[in-house]
Amino acid sequence: MKVYFYGPVTNRRDLEDDYDSIRKVLKRADVWLSSNTERQEVDLPAEERERAEALEQPLLETMDAIVVNGTHSDQQAGYLVAFAITTKKPTLFLYQRGTVPDLFRHLTAKAVPKWVRVVAYTDQNLERQVEAFLAGAAGVAVKEVPRIKFTLRITRSIERYLAFRTQNTKLTKADWLRQQIERLMRDDDQWRKFDGGKE
């Protein structure tokens, strides 16, 4: 699962702490996190970036979900919410309880669709709110993200076969191979007995 987390630039220590808490939960959940709050250039797997560029897709469209801390709303936060509404992207809009984000002046409760969750948080429940969103409020299954680089030398005929199997699909050759291995894992009784549900 790929998540984009946005927090407007701020000099408020309390908001920066909140950004830290949100990032902690997202990293613990093993999602692929892209965020403006960590460094200038937002991280994405190279395959995803290449695929998006080939399809002329803005990178935001490739994200599975969006999390915005809109306590201190800015133009970009408004854009992300508008984008989420338009594209039906599961989105969590967080704001500190006791504040009223500027965004609400232009967004009535009626106009907020079910895939955009607007949540007032406190220090005590912030992490739980993000966990709940990831677990199911967004309606998106959490998938493992491939992080381990593995070099596999293949023959020319295998390469031709992979090209044949992935042409006219949205899959890369690596995606297709991962799918075949995951299928083998599911059907392998010996593996299931050995693994017994451990990571």
């Binding site: 897709q57 854009y79 919410v81 338009t86």
Partner: protein, 343 residues
């Protein structure tokens, strides 16, 4: 701290169809359709405070100088009231209109952003963009493009731009891609003004918002005969009466000057001497033959060159002043002679 939403004028000039089913409210064909259309795109009000203006709702291929001047006129009149302009336009002829606005609107203090829907309305004739890119979202992809383009209209750029997919193009350099391409547009020199990834990102060479007085030069002369010289071109005699009675200029494209037969050059020269300016276009002339009396247009896309000639002809009929206008880089349309160019 409060952020102030910018005020954006949205001009409807075709290219508005939101859904392939083209239900009531999906397309703006007349002023009465605007409110219903805007209700479907209510989320745009989160980004900016929008005020609509109707310009045109008919066939995209019929858009020309009349609509260009209308759009420029609206922008000129309303420039002080708005923080940016968002022009929805039929994509078939958008590149021409983008070039036209680039020449007519100089010293822009705010952005003028153009885009359009690749979905053809019910009465339309053809599909111009591959379904693979936009098609995976169908109407959602179309709406996302509109939201992205509006975000550019509130950004810090102050140029005429075209937004489509993930790319932001300079209006004076945008060209149309082949039918069926993922992106309807490309940039003549293959360099884009910016891109849309998680927000808008501009590269170093763009004009920023500033306190400038907009200069509007809205005169166009559309009575220009276009001639594409190919091998085996017959005599130009059949065109004589058209040139004598109607044409205020002739725009000629050819692979090379040396590919134009002498009899064709002689006919063109006689028109030019009779007061019908003849402009030769090529990507680059290594040298301009002194024995040829014509005007030369180079270092820009064919679309920009044709439109610029029509615009320059609207400003003056004096050949020396015409050549000066064609040679100056009025709107960022010039590219270096060695730059890669879109075919």
């Amino acid at each position: 701290m409060a952020f102030r939403r910018k005020r954006i004028a949205i001009l409807f000039c075709g290219g508005t169809t939101l859904d392939e089913r083209d239900r009531p409210g999906d397309t703006v064909r007349a002023p009465k359709d605007m409110d219903r259309w805007l209700a479907q795109m209510g989320e745009m009000e989160i980004i900016a405070s929008i005020e609509p203006f109707f310009v045109y709702g008919g066939e995209g291929a019929a858009i020309g100088a009349k609509q260009w001047v209308q759009v420029a006129g609206t922008i000129g009149r309303e420039a002080k009231r708005f923080d940016g302009f968002f022009v929805l336009h039929a994509i078939d002829t958008l590149a021409y209109s983008a070039a036209a606005l680039s020449f007519m609107l100089q010293k822009l203090p705010v952005p003028v952003v153009m885009t359009g829907s690749p979905i053809v309305p019910k009465e339309g004739r053809r599909q111009t963009v591959s379904k693979e890119g936009f098609g995976q979202y169908s109407s959602l992809g179309v709406k996302a493009n509109l939201v992205n383009a509006l975000q550019v209209a509130v950004s810090e750029v102050a140029e005429v731009c075209v937004v489509f997919g993930s790319r932001i193009f300079r209006g004076s350099q945008v060209t149309m891609n082949r039918p069926g391409a993922l992106n309807a547009f490309d940039s003549y020199d293959r360099i884009v003004l910016g891109k849309i990834d998680f927000g808008t990102k501009f590269f170093s060479h763009y004009v920023r918002r500033g306190d400038r007085a907009l200069k509007v030069s809205p005169k166009f002369d559309p009575n220009v005969l276009q001639l594409d010289v190919q091998p085996g071109l017959p005599s130009l005699q059949p065109l004589e009466s058209a040139v004598r009675s109607k044409a205020h200029g002739v725009f000629v494209t050819a692979m090379h000057i040396t590919a134009i037969p002498q009899r064709t050059l002689d006919a063109l020269a006689s028109w030019h001497r009779r007061g019908v300016p003849v402009a030769l276009y090529a990507h680059h002339f290594a040298e301009r033959p002194k024995q040829l009396p014509f005007l030369f247009v180079e270092l820009m896309s064919p679309v920009a060159a044709l439109v610029k000639f029509m615009w320059a002809r609207g400003q003056t009929s004096d050949p020396k002043r015409l050549q000066k206008l064609l040679d100056q880089d009025s709107a960022g349309e010039h590219v270096p002679p060695t730059s890669p160019r879109a075919v």
